[in-house]
Symmetry: C2
């Protein structure tokens, strides 16, 4: 008798992001051809089906569930989640809540994804602040670091940073397969006495924890892959991600300018165009998959708002291990230990 | 009768930084050959003179004042400034205080430079927190933005950010010759409701001021030259500077690797080596001069700790307009206006 294999159900927000539904649908079709798991597109049925008509796909593995409303980037997150009950986002996350899906993926309004995660799934008991965990590419070496928080919480207390470190370590180990991941705290110097009052207290908590805490990490070391889990508040995390994006873009643009300036350089540029493309690929977020919202009672992954089909495909495929592992349960289990560290203060 | 020209007296800390006194002395000699102003090296006379012997220079324009002690990077700043009274740093800043020098330049311990500025010169009355103003290169376009604070104050109140914006605008206009400089507040979104409580309040203060405030600026826009004066707390400023340094270094290293990998690429790399050097130069802090400490009663400029002779030369030459203009007095004059904005709250 053949062993029955459980197929994950991955719900994708068909209406979220700058390129919805076209690129979302295309990416879902591409992912579906590469996995046996179920993919469910949720959103405006007629629009999604119109896109689906362009492709060949296995209807047993890729289906559509209708939702009549859309939460846009202009919507105020909390109000949108409370009122647009038939939106693709609210419907999709509700399916995770009800157990009819294992993972929800969206390129939509980040604030609304956070709010819907909190309201519909709820926080894991004992976790004060859920956070967004983004991957940060390690240049030239391959692999990624995981930055927690990368934008959900502008102002944090020391215990929040300890939570981020704990949740990030679990995700890094179980989903990204890095054993005993190192944890670094973003600070303006390596000495433990550096930085703000909050960071000094967070350093103490992290040092007491069972995490593989390697101390403070200065921002200049981050692109070199200083640690597996980069811990910071969401303000600093957002600054790091956006500065990286802006600076890499500026440098690549400048390179292109310089390399097409003059005949000799044009010849060189032609010879090197492949290398320049490789460089660009190192920064291409669409290769790295999405960012999980850690700390809510269910698996939600946020994609970049301007995700193309490739990003959608990769986010779905790289999201499967997240749905398969019991990261949420493991975070829940870690809470007791966190409380013991906090009480011993 | 010839009009008498006043020659500035620029005191350079001969003992500060990783490459002292060799590179400091060399840079001072180079600068001296290019200006009529007086340069005074302060520090261990025998060591400095030994270096000076290597060069030809005009003794009327370049002289040495002995100081028997050195404040190192390992010294605790406050204690060092309080006890090493015959250090090159304390002696040099004291000369500014006494009026026997117009400008002090050092590549030494940043914390000690700040502390010495505060203790010896004192804060400008009405300025709560002096700050470090660093130049940030605008890639491909030339020119710089000025980032205030870039590391002196990890935790700031809204009025501190208003002070940074005011002092930075005055320096940008008077020393870097940018008329009516634009001011941007580093934040995680462009809307005025974004960010922390402190940033929201700072946004309100800046909007009320007479500064050319253009609103919030996201980190991804900074390398593109989003505004002339970039306002942030010293923690975020430090993260931005260090991440920029680390990321640029990583990208250039990766480029070099990619371009020397394979025969075809080697040919291309040869053709393009000039262009790569140009790119490197865009990030070369040694071209941009030092960072003034704004808000103390006298002109102090901090150089990068690893400054070479070229950086020293440029910091001296680019520091002359700072000594010539009355920036300190103008900051003093702006305080009344600042107080009116704060009182109207």
């Amino acid at each position: 008798m053949a062993k029955e294999v459980y197929h994950m159900k991955i719900v994708v927000d068909g209406m979220g992001g700058d390129n919805a539904p076209q690129e979302i649908v295309k990416g879902a079709v591409e992912a579906s051809s590469l996995t046996e798991h179920q993919i469910i597109l949720v959103g405006d049925e007629s629009k999604i089906n119109k896109e689906l008509e362009k492709y060949k796909y296995d209807k047993k593995k890729l289906s559509v569930i209708h939702a009549s409303e859309v939460i846009t980037n202009e919507d105020a997150p909390v109000k949108a989640v409370r009122t647009k009950l038939d939106s693709s986002m609210v419907r999709g996350i509700s399916m995770v809540k009800e157990g009819s899906a294992d993972l929800f993926i969206s390129a939509g309004n980040t604030g609304a994804i956070m709010a819907a995660g909190l309201f519909i799934l709820g926080r894991i008991q004992g976790i004060d602040r859920p956070a967004i965990a983004s991957t940060y590419p390690i240049l030239g070496r391959g692999g990624v670091s995981l930055m927690v928080d990368s934008g959900a919480n502008s102002e944090c207390k020391p215990n929040n940073l300890l939570e981020f470190a704990t949740m990030g370590s679990i995700y890094m180990e179980k989903v990204l397969n890095v054993k005993n991941p190192t944890v670094g705290l973003v600070n303006i110097g390596t000495e433990e006495t550096k930085g703000t009052t909050v960071l000094k207290a967070a350093h103490e908590l992290l040092a007491k924890s069972k995490l593989n805490f390697t101390g403070n990490v200065e921002a200049r070391e981050i692109p070199k892959g200083a640690c597996d889990v980069i811990v910071c508040d969401g303000f600093v995390g957002n600054v790091i991600l956006k500065l990286t994006e802006g600076l890499a873009w500026s440098i690549l643009k400048l390179l292109k300018q310089k390399f097409t300036d003059g005949v000799v350089s044009k010849m060189g540029a032609l010879l090197l165009s492949g290398k320049l493309k490789e460089l660009k690929a190192e920064f291409d977020y669409s290769e790295y998959g999405g960012a999980p919202i850690l700390g809510v009672k269910g698996a939600i992954v946020k994609m970049h708002g301007s995700s193309n089909a490739n990003a959608v495909k990769n986010t779905i495929l790289k999201g499967i291990p997240y749905a398969e592992t019991n990261v949420v349960q493991m975070i829940q289990n870690s809470v007791l230990e966190l409380e013991e560290i906090l009480i011993s203060e």
